[in-house]
Symmetry: C2
Subunit: 201 residues, 2 copies
């Protein structure tokens, strides 16, 4: 069995990455990596579903024991990606999806150069503004802030292996599946297959 691949997905707020990933995750060959945090659960949030909610002591033990793929401190709390569930799932042959912002992705890139880095783009900043407005959950001021952040994040897209535009959802899903299939067929990941052909004479 081939090992699974670590697939790192980023994209600005409103680009629709959550919707794309929800489609992909219907196939159980994918596993969604759940982040850990030391902040308190908000009402309705479930441990192990939204986050792994850890104590500060436990989080710092994981850091000290090289147990985090990446982590950051934000507003007096830690956020990060525990290494063990990712490695267990990769060893079980599953592709692990890691949805993460650009700074975290760049840290993963240093540690896991073999991971596949995918950036999801909105068709345009204009369309991103329209989508954020349509949500109706955020003030004009917050939307302007998100658009400024989006422009900054999109400049990192060049550092990813792939950049796909989420115009039509079904096309974006097909694009992401094509990327993953192509990576499976990449000779750096499919030596086993070539050997099998030769051995089965």
């Amino acid at each position: 069995m081939n090992k699974g691949m670590l697939i790192v997905v980023s994209g600005p707020s409103g680009c629709g990455k959550g919707t794309i990933l929800a489609e992909i995750l219907k196939n159980d060959k994918f596993f969604y990596s759940i982040s850990a945090t030391t902040r308190n659960p908000r009402p309705g949030e479930v441990d192990g579903v939204n986050y792994h909610f850890l104590t500060k002591q436990k989080f710092e033990e994981l850091i000290a024991g090289d147990g985090m793929l990446e982590y950051a401190a934000y507003c007096d709390n830690y956020y990060g990606t525990p290494k063990k569930p990712v490695e267990d799932m990769l060893n079980a042959g599953k592709h692990v999806i890691l949805e993460i912002e650009v700074q975290g992705a760049m840290k993963i890139k240093e540690k896991c150069p073999d991971a596949v880095f995918v950036f999801i783009l909105p068709p345009s900043l204009k369309e991103l503004r329209r989508r954020l407005n349509k949500r109706g959950t955020e003030s004009e001021e917050v939307i302007e802030k998100r658009l400024g952040e989006a422009a900054g994040e999109i400049k990192y897209a060049y550092k990813y292996d792939y950049a796909l535009i989420n115009g039509e959802l079904s096309e974006a899903v097909d694009d992401l599946l094509s990327i993953i299939r192509a990576e499976e067929l990449n000779t750096k990941n499919s030596e086993n297959n070539i050997n099998e052909v030769l051995e089965n004479a």
Copy 2:
């Protein structure tokens, strides 16, 4: 408009690459590169369809003028890939498919490191033998020779970017299309797209 990609396809005789490429070529965003040769046309062969049939003098002029992407001499005749039609089609945004044996592919790799190299594998050497037998056009001796050649060629699969197994035709076609789509989305080929998103504020 993005430039097209050069897609180099190899695989042993009987692996079914011709059938896969015939499916792909139904889409006119692809262009099949026709080889040039100095050998005489066989009955039924058409200039510009099966080969570009050139005089020895013309072929040697092209070599001297750096007009061949690769060439080889075989049985007193030249065989090769004229550079100009390939470049013209790439500039027109078409993906150029180059079906070529492994030695020629390795020469292309030196000259065009950005090309995409795809190796098509039979499911097994056993299945390749079955397919060659089923054709019924070749003697047992020739089939044994082909199988020996196939095993030698398959060892080169590791030097390609991708290796796909042609078990079911439709799956192999989908795999090749996934590879090509992923390459289109690779950030090394899609800078234009990222810039467009940022410019369209």
